[in-house]
């Protein structure tokens, strides 16, 4: 993973395939690293205990409902760690539950999006996220 990468944390293989398709439909060329549960996400970012630290991605797309460590736990750990404290994290989830939204923002999410069922909208969401967070937005630390 390098500073241009997108880290996609998503456990549903269909959603992974759809997201990769939507990103490439939108000519978003950043390399995408996919991990399928919260524990892998943390390992990818911090390395296993004792190992050297890994690179920090340009953007993290984080599902909430994940095996092992859920999205909120991952987010809280990211925000506690100096290297990842400022990485843009966009929550991408099926849930619109008010409590999920509140908890995500309280844990330090930069944005909260619902994965639309309509694929045209899904592609649109991927395009907006890519152009906003990877091109328009100025990150806290230069990549």
């Amino acid at each position: 993973m390098n500073r241009q990468s997108i880290l996609l944390v998503e456990d549903n293989p269909d959603d992974i395939a759809l997201m990769l398709h939507a990103l490439s439909d939108n000519q978003i060329a950043n390399p995408v690293v996919v991990v399928e549960d919260g524990e892998q996400a943390l390992q990818t970012l911090f390395g296993a205990a004792g190992q050297a630290e890994r690179g920090v991605p340009a953007l993290i797309l984080l599902d909430l409902n994940l095996p092992k460590r859920n999205g909120l736990e991952v987010l809280r750990e990211l925000r506690n760690h100096p290297n990842t404290r400022l990485v843009p994290v966009v929550i991408l989830t099926s849930s619109l539950e008010p409590s999920d939204r509140l908890n995500a923002y309280q844990a330090g999410a930069n944005s909260y999006l619902r994965k639309p069922v309509d694929f045209d909208e899904f592609v649109h969401v991927a395009q907006q996220v890519g152009s906003y967070w990877l091109r328009l937005n100025q990150p806290a630390v230069d990549n």
């Binding site: 269909d14 959603d15 395939a17 759809l18 398709h21 099926s94 069922v117 309509d118 694929f119």
Partner: protein, 321 residues
């Protein structure tokens, strides 16, 4: 009335203690007192004491009441309360389970729909050119079905959320809310010619989240069922009925047959075909629940082709605790 044998000695000391600082009071506060019948059996009693000072001596009046029935009633109330508490705990558990259930419904039922819609669209695009018109139509039907089911899930979740919502009543400006909801609907259908007449400053006693659900559904319906009209007119107004606030939402749309008027408020009941007016039939059922939670009610008037009017009666402002 005799004193039970086991307290007789103590009673003498207590009696003397009382006589030293006599004042009117019930005897043995906090204790359950017993008396003894002539035959030796005991009964629960309540005793009140009042001293009376006369020239010759101090008399102490002592009223003794048989408390058998009262104790029995108290025991029964306690039993009922315990039963209610148990039921309450059970209901709370069921409620938590339902909450977990709707949560998982919202996540787990939507994911496969996204896959169905998404991969249909991807296939349709990559096969473009080699698909017949009929094939394309089938792809569109698959996608439409997935999207309808997604809407159905959303509507059911709203209905469930309304049902378990905590209600916080406050005086709210319905006019402002209706305007915001209608503006959003207009934005989504800019090609439509819709005239809105919303009376200003309608105040009702309601909960903000619940009122939002009601207005979104009512105005959504008004927009939907006027979509076949060249010029749609949607009116939100207010009148007084027996001193209560009644808000109405009126449209000049297709209307409905009054013979089915009470069916409308049952989940899944629709009076129009899905091909002409898509929908899930859950909206009015949700509003009905909203209104009963707000201590009000909803009813409708219409005739086919003549538009429809929905009435919402709210609890009186000032009726909140």
């Amino acid at each position: 009335m005799l004193i039970p044998a086991e307290v007789a000695t103590r009673h003498v000391a207590h009696r003397e203690g009382y006589a030293r600082a006599a004042q009117p009071r019930p005897m043995g506060m906090g204790l359950s007192l017993s008396g003894r019948r002539k035959d030796g059996s005991q009964l629960p009693v309540e005793i009140s004491l009042s001293p009376i000072n006369t020239a010759e001596a101090r008399l102490i009046f002592c009223a003794v009441r048989d408390a058998t029935e009262r104790r029995a009633t108290e025991r029964q109330i306690r039993r009922l309360n315990e039963g209610l508490e148990r039921q309450n705990t059970e209901l709370q558990a069921v409620n938590n389970e339902l909450e977990a259930f709707s949560y998982s419904v919202s996540h787990d039922l939507r994911a496969p729909l996204r896959a169905i819609d998404g991969f249909s669209k991807i296939l349709q695009s990559s096969l473009e050119g080699s698909l017949s018109e009929r094939d394309s139509d089938y792809f569109n039907r698959i996608r439409k079905a997935a999207q309808n089911m997604s809407k159905l899930i959303d509507d059911l979740l709203t209905l469930a959320r309304v049902t378990r919502a905590d209600v916080k009543l406050a005086s709210l400006n319905l006019s402002r809310l209706a305007t915001a909801v209608a503006d959003r609907l207009l934005e989504n259908q800019p090609e439509r010619n819709v005239t809105l007449q919303i009376a200003p400053d309608i105040k009702v006693l309601a909960d903000p989240a619940l009122l939002q659900v009601a207005m979104e559904n009512l105005l959504g319906n008004a927009f939907k069922f006027t979509s076949t009209k060249e010029k749609a007119l949607i009116e939100v107004g207010c009148m007084s009925k027996d001193g209560e606030t009644v808000v109405f939402v009126r449209d000049n749309g297709v209307g409905f047959d009054m013979n089915y008027a009470d069916k409308l408020f049952t989940p899944f009941q629709r009076l129009h075909s899905a091909s002409e007016f898509p929908g899930t039939g859950i909206g009015l059922a949700s509003i009905k629940r909203v209104m009963s939670k707000l201590g009000g009610r909803i009813w409708a008037e219409s005739s086919v082709g003549e538009g429809a009017t929905f009435y919402l009666q709210f609890a009186r402002i000032g009726a909140e605790q």
